[in-house]
């Protein structure tokens, strides 16, 4: 048994046979039942055929351009393809070890390399590169051309824990929670889109678990503890038993949640707090309702694109989705955020595909957090924006629909977007004396918006603080860059101050300010946010029951006192210490559902 610490990014605990996915050289590794041996051998043989055809074509081309001598290198590669030590060896590994074709091929190559590593001669040792070239070609030809690992995942015979070096959000969005029990990732953080998706799918996940993929062998069992942030390789029986009883408690409490009268929850001293849900897929509505969400505070419409170009998702298709969400959530309000993507994604790159950076740069498309994205992109690509606005205006007639604009950084942008909405509403004949205009809110994510909330309040109907981006822009941290991701600090005094000031600047206008970032899913941060004056939260459905429970146990009075002190502490470490001192029960939250100590600090 090996324990690997990581970041808890999606709550819950799960264990099962490991399925390994390496995105850097895309490979899926998993065990297969005896019935699939022939299929996997067939895949190997087919990959060998395709590779041989490709290599012969390359050889002919090189012979023509560079001469027979260089071309003979590819003749050598053709021989390697047919060599008994490679594909035939992999075939035997599929049969004897019952593993999929990719895994068997990697094993055969590893065996070869293990012997070759002993070779003393540098020049000859470099010949390993020729073999690696052939193996790389076979690997690529094993994978279906476009679908990457997703189609391979479809070959999973039994539910498994997915262990991966990295997970693109477009891939995470397609995971089937009935087949993927849990996620153990080497990279990522709480606010990575894949972590957000894991939470929305209710899949326990741990991110930032170093070198976890290197631990996976045939038949390895993996336990993912998304509460404590730990991956356990080949867990001992008592560890599994503990996890099982914890999961049983969680299921029991989740089952009782709807009975606990969804609706306004109040703090221990009677202040009402509202919880709404962040979702990106329509099938999350049931989970949102079951969790007691009083609406959808954030529907991330860009996930509807799922890697397709925006043109592929026309007005009618969008209208049907938006209408469906708003009707199924009735009578609660639904805030649809317009596409929050960059130029590469709206061209069909998919949100955050790991390898589309180069492609996007080649095509001259804008990428990155400071580029042409979100509202800037919508105002620039008018046709796509107008399509979305018409769909929203039509769907808005069917319920309490609100529109939320991402990344607004000036009043000008808000005005332009509102004008576009008015015109779209006229186009679809949606305005009239009987139909009230759809409320338009903005995300507060950019410091320029945070500093001018009072000015924006004159023209925005409501605000939603997007903490993920707000923290990124305030602290100048690219959270996708592992080397600086550690600087992404929700408890930085600057973050607490900017949230305090947003609330203060909005107050005279009476505009409501919600907070929709993942920051609120952290119990300590939630207490501070309450104290800073936030009383409406939107978060992933899975996080709502525990947050509601926490709110019931704290008093607003104590939360305020703590927050007032916290904003004057110099570092996040000091702020965490302050929280620990005033709310000692937070340390063990959410453990011990039964007989939990009353959540009250010293007064």
């Amino acid at each position: 048994m090996t324990r690997i610490p990581g970041l808890p990014v999606s709550p819950g605990v799960a264990w099962g046979p490991a399925a390994l996915m390496l995105q850097r050289h895309p490979t899926m590794r998993y065990g297969i039942p005896a019935a699939d041996v022939d299929r996997e051998i067939g895949r190997l043989d087919q990959a060998r055929e395709v590779s041989a055809t490709q290599l012969r074509a390359i050889r002919a081309r090189v012979a023509q351009r560079a001469g027979a001598d260089l071309a003979s290198l590819f003749e050598a590669q053709v021989l390697m393809l047919d060599d008994a030590l490679l594909v035939p060896r992999a075939r035997r590994i599929v049969e004897s070890d019952r593993v999929n074709a990719e895994w068997a091929l990697d094993r055969a190559f590893d065996e070869f390399c293990a012997v070759f590593a002993e070779v003393g001669d540098d020049y000859l040792r470099e010949r390993r590169g020729d073999v690696a070239d052939v193996v790389g070609r076979l690997r690529r030809n094993l994978l279906p051309a476009s679908a990457g690992g997703v189609r391979v995942l479809a070959g999973l015979a039994a539910p498994a824990v997915l262990v991966a070096d990295d997970l693109a959000p477009s891939f995470a969005a397609q995971l089937d929670p009935s087949m993927i029990l849990g996620l153990a990732l080497e990279t990522g953080s709480r606010t990575h889109h894949s972590a957000i998706l894991a939470r929305s799918l209710g899949i326990p996940a741990v991110a930032g678990a170093p070198a976890v993929t290197a631990q996976i062998r045939p038949g390895t069992t993996v336990l993912v503890d998304g509460d404590a942030g730990e991956v356990v390789i080949d867990p001992a029986q008592d560890v599994v038993d503990q996890a099982r009883s914890r999961r049983a408690r969680r299921v029991a409490s989740a089952g009782s949640a709807p009975a606990s009268a969804p609706g306004p929850v109040t703090t221990a001293d009677g202040v009402a707090v509202r919880f709404l849900a962040n979702i990106e897929r329509i099938d999350e509505i049931d989970a949102a309702r079951a969790a007691g969400a009083e609406g959808i505070g954030l529907f991330r419409s860009e996930f509807l694109l799922a890697g397709r170009a925006v043109e592929a998702f026309d007005e009618e298709a969008q209208y049907r989705v938006y209408r469906d969400v708003v009707e199924r959530m009735a009578p609660h309000p639904v805030a649809i955020r317009t596409f929050d993507v960059d130029e590469a994604q709206i061209a069909g790159g998919g949100p955050g595909e790991p390898d589309d950076g180069a492609r996007a740069r080649e095509a001259g498309l804008s990428r990155g957090p400071l580029g042409l994205r979100a509202i800037r992109l919508s105002l620039g690509h008018r046709a796509a924006f107008e399509t979305q606005l018409r769909a929203l205006a039509r769907a808005g007639r069917h319920g309490a629909m609100r529109m939320l604009l991402p990344l607004v950084s000036s009043v000008d942008e808000l005005r332009e977007a509102r004008a576009a909405l008015r015109s779209a509403t006229r186009d679809v004949g949606g305005s009239g004396p009987r139909t009230p205009a759809m409320p338009v809110g903005i995300m507060i994510e950019v410091p320029s918006a945070a500093l001018t909330v009072d000015l924006l309040a004159a023209e925005a109907d409501f605000f939603s603080i997007g903490t993920n981006d707000l923290i990124q822009y305030c602290l100048a941290v690219d959270r996708t860059d592992g080397r600086v991701a550690g600087l992404f600090d929700p408890l930085h005094p600057a973050i607490l101050r900017v949230i305090r000031d947003i609330i203060r600047l909005a107050r005279p206008s009476g505009r409501e300010v919600a907070l929709c970032g993942e920051m609120a899913a952290d119990p300590g941060a939630l207490v501070l946010l309450l104290g800073l004056g936030v009383t409406e939260f939107s978060m992933s459905p899975a996080a709502i029951p525990e947050a509601r429970e926490l709110v019931r146990q704290v008093t607003m009075r104590e939360a305020r006192r703590t927050a007032v002190r916290a904003v004057s502490r110099p570092t996040s470490t000091d702020i965490a210490a302050l929280l620990a001192a005033r709310f000692p029960a937070l340390a063990s939250w959410p453990a011990g559902r039964d007989g939990r100590p009353h959540m009250e600090g010293p007064s």
Partner: protein, 92 residues
Amino acid sequence: MLERTVTIRNPLGMHARAAARFVHAAGAFQARVTVTRADRGDRRVDGKSILGLLLLAAARGAVLQITAEGADEGEALGALCRLVEAGFGEEP
């Protein structure tokens, strides 16, 4: 079964292309061909397997022991030894 030793002469040793030529030459005969390092004598590999030959890591000066067994073993052994001694037909 026939057997002979022969020394690698070309500067780059038995690299991928050289090994490919050896495999082609061996493949022209019915005889079973195996190769081992006479100067190390550890591993005996199939003379018709390019990856096996690469595993011998035969740099310049390495001494190979080639065996051939089968109807055309004499011709096979002669042809393969000539190929190695000719430096696999590469420029010296």
